[in-house]
């Protein structure tokens, strides 16, 4: 087996219209400026794509980018990113997935795959070390993601869309193994290109870091951190992401009845602690992984993946349903159909409330599991009212009215964290590049999980939002799992040996000092350095994160995003909840103005030319 030292720097660009492919070489300067993964994918698309292109047209491009760490055996590095212009939001979307396709693509010798054009007939691609072959997918078309993957298993690791993607459901996703490129409607992009699947025949190359000694050293430290940290080694490892239910329900940020309430007395039934005991869960994770948060369990005697927290939040409590078996079944159905469970849950939540208010006529109602399964199938196949629901809550509310309770930002449904119990998360939803995304700055972790920031103030929220956006852009470009940050940031010497209360004071009152004093990104940076052999300083690394974020923002502003679109659903800004004693709404305006100032954006939300110049995005 041949070896690739560091990175191959070769990206495969495929044109479906002409059925040709070419190889793009990534220059070292782009590597250092954009790290890899998501950042490099954005750069490739920015350089090549017409930003005005229709997301569902042939001009849209989609990039699948395994990161620098993939294949080296770094902890939790089995993840890859995808970047495209989203049909759900009309702006750039990036997504991360832990399926086996990434590893296969990387070990086939490619640092990325860029797909453009559109095919006339259904096709699928087979990628190997020499390039790509186009195959007819007539018999695959219409199959669900599990069947399609079984059929393609002998050719390599597959990336497939389900019926939802084929029918251009705005929140269709792409499956690889039992993991998904969930958000942003990427399945519809492939569906519009008539591309049913991409198969990568890997294991052609072995990936070794440029500096194996320092890599081994840093890997050992990183693994120690993960195994020592209570969040990664206990909460996530034992109960998976469902361990979060206990936090959100007690912090009052669990969405209940389409975000009408922030907690429920019944929510204890869907906590990870209860589910793992009742349904005998076992590990079922990305590979390689050190944290082991993915789970599967026996629901009613049937082995099914345990739903992730957001699924339980949106398809469960958001619909006022607390039956783990039903939620697990819908989760698997969404997976088979190739649909994003978050957006599906958000959309059903809107439909249930609209039915209650008499705007639409359906048999769905809060608290009742009847009809949900049929509704999900209808959405996937665009049958009847399902065709309307396939547009998501934004499309629905524009057609039928009721925009004030359509819980989306820029067209993407909010994730299962109610910002009225976490103001920073409200800001991070509003300004997130891909829409209502919780992973953009993950402020709820600081505010409600670790409680290092007071959730009901606006103080220093803008600073930290910008900081974490930059940092997570780096993490998503490496590409490694975001959960590693629990360990890599809090197990560093200073945070580890300071008390909770001093960290709270530090983060709340002197964010600048803390950002300067603690090198939060040290593990990530050293890992990247050891693999690529390119040296990078702390400020260069964080600058690269900023560059990636601002580039995405810049592309979005050219696609029509302005300050007016950086907002939250009216419900979050005006209505208070039953569970709160005081009236609580998100004071967004105050935080957003500050955020633009810190970011160096103009008041209408565009990156200033001087900022673009400083970051080297535009001349």
């Amino acid at each position: 087996m041949e070896t690739i030292v560091g990175t191959s720097n070769r990206v495969l660009a495929v044109d479906l219209t002409t059925q040709e492919f070419e190889v793009i070489e990534v220059p070292d300067i782009d590597r250092k400026m954009y790290i890899g993964g998501k950042g490099l994918g954005l750069k490739l698309i920015y350089d090549r794509m017409d930003l005005e292109a229709d997301p569902l047209g042939p001009d849209n491009m989609i990039a699948f980018m395994p990161g620098v760490l993939m294949g080296t055996g770094a902890p939790c590095s089995g993840r890859f990113a995808a970047v495209t212009k989203s049909p759900q939001t009309g702006v750039m979307a990036s997504s991360s997935c832990g399926g086996p396709f990434g590893m296969a693509l990387k070990t086939a010798g490619w640092d990325g795959l860029l797909v453009k054009g559109a095919s006339e007939n259904p096709v699928y691609l087979v990628v190997d070390r020499d390039g790509v072959t186009f195959r007819d997918a007539g018999d695959l078309w219409g199959k669900d993601t599990r069947q399609a993957q079984e059929q393609l298993a002998k050719e390599g690791e597959a990336l497939v869309i389900g019926p939802a993607g084929e029918n251009l459901v705005r929140f269709a996703n792409i499956a690889s193994g039992h993991r998904f490129l969930g958000r942003g409607g990427m399945g519809a992009v492939l569906g519009a290109k008539k591309l049913k699947a991409i198969v990568a025949a890997g294991k052609a190359y072995k990936i070794v870091p440029k500096d194996p000694e320092s890599f081994d050293r840093i890997k050992k430290i990183a693994t120690d951190y993960i195994n020592r940290n209570p969040w990664t080694s206990q909460a996530q490892r034992k109960y998976g992401t469902l361990s979060i239910v206990n936090i959100t329900r007690t912090s009052g940020i669990l969405p209940v009845r389409n975000f009408q309430d922030g907690t429920s007395d019944n929510a204890y039934k869907i906590t990870g602690e209860v589910i793992s005991e009742k349904y005998d869960t076992r590990h079922h994770t990305c590979k390689p992984c050190t944290i082991l948060c993915g789970k599967k369990g026996k629901f009613d005697g049937e082995e099914m993946p345990v739903p992730e927290y957001e699924t339980v939040g949106l398809l469960g409590s958001n619909l006022d349903i607390y039956d783990p078996v039903a939620i697990a079944r819908w989760n698997r159905l969404c997976g088979d159909m190739g649909m994003d469970t978050i957006s599906a849950g958000g959309t059903l939540g809107w439909v249930m409330e609209a039915t209650e208010k008499g705007l639409v006529k359906t048999n769905l109602k809060f608290g009742s599991p009847d009809g949900v399964e049929e509704a999900l199938l209808d959405i996937a196949h665009c049958r009847g009212f399902g065709a309307d629901m396939a547009m998501g809550s934004k499309g629905l509310s524009e057609k039928y009215g009721g925009t004030e309770f359509a819980m989306h930002v820029k067209g993407m449904e909010l994730s299962a964290y109610d910002p009225r119990g976490s103001f920073g998360q409200g800001l991070s939803y509003a300004v997130a590049n891909r829409g209502g995304c919780h992973l953009s700055a993950t402020m709820m972790v600081m505010e409600n999980f670790m409680c290092f920031l007071a959730p009901h103030t606006t103080m220093s929220k803008a600073r930290w939002t910008a900081f974490f956006e930059n940092m997570w852009c780096c993490v998503n470009s490496l590409h490694t799992c975001l959960f590693t940050s629990f360990a890599y940031t809090t197990e560093l010497t200073i945070p580890r040996f300071s008390s909770w209360i001093s960290t709270l004071i530090g983060m709340q009152f002197m964010p600048g000092i803390l950002m300067a004093a603690v090198d939060f990104s040290v593990i990530y940076r050293k890992m990247w350095q050891a693999v690529t052999g390119i040296s990078i300083s702390k400020s260069e690394f964080m600058r690269a994160g900023e560059r990636i974020h601002v580039l995405e923002r810049y592309m979005n502003t050219r696609m029509g995003v302005t300050a007016g679109k950086d907002t939250l659903p009216a419900r979050l800004l005006t209505e208070s909840r039953r569970c709160d004693k005081k009236n609580r709404t998100v004071p967004l305006d105050k935080m957003i103005a500050k955020y633009y100032r810190i970011r160096g954006f103009t008041p209408d939300g565009r990156p200033k030319p001087s900022l673009l110049k400083k970051l080297g995005i535009a001349a």
């Binding site: 209570p230 969040w231 206990q234 909460a235 034992k238 361990s243 206990n246 329900r249 007690t250 912090s251 009052g252 922030g262 907690t263 429920s264 007395d265 929510a267 204890y268 906590t271 602690e273 409680c451 040996f497 300071s498 008390s499 909770w500 209360i501 001093s502 709270l504 569970c579 004693k581």
Partner: protein, 178 residues
Amino acid sequence: MTSRRQRYYQIKPGRKHVKTAIVRLVMLTLGHAFQTAYRIDPEVKKEVDSWPPTFHVVLEVEPDGPRMTLIKRNGALQYLGEKELYNADVVIVMKSIEFMFRMTMGMMSMPRIVAENRQYMKGDLVLAGSIIRCMNRVQTMMIPVVTGLYIKKVPPLSLRMIKNRIIFWTCGVWGLVK
């Protein structure tokens, strides 16, 4: 109109700033003491380990006075300041700041507070006994000489208790034992 208002004047609820501040400080110390005791006192550890894996305890003063939030999660008992909790497993509510203050000053013992109905509990009362036993151990660890003012039965002085007191008043009180 004005004169009537002056004649039949209104009495607004004032605030007991000093007492609230003192209670707040004591609660901070007590919270850190719980956190420390879980690490260094085997009896507290045994009690806490018998609780469910994730467990929320709140001690609060009505109506919105100081609050002490303790969460057992990820194999540790964590003190999280005044974090508001919805649906906490056990909430011990003191009916007024006055009696919380008296309790912190040793003017009233916890059993006295219970007997005089100055507090009430919400939630799972089965574990309330366990929490009170922990509280007794923790207060014994915190308070050296006048322990008897706070709890019913003072355990005999032991070398371990002296050691724990020293650890607590040097490191634990700052929240460094976690």
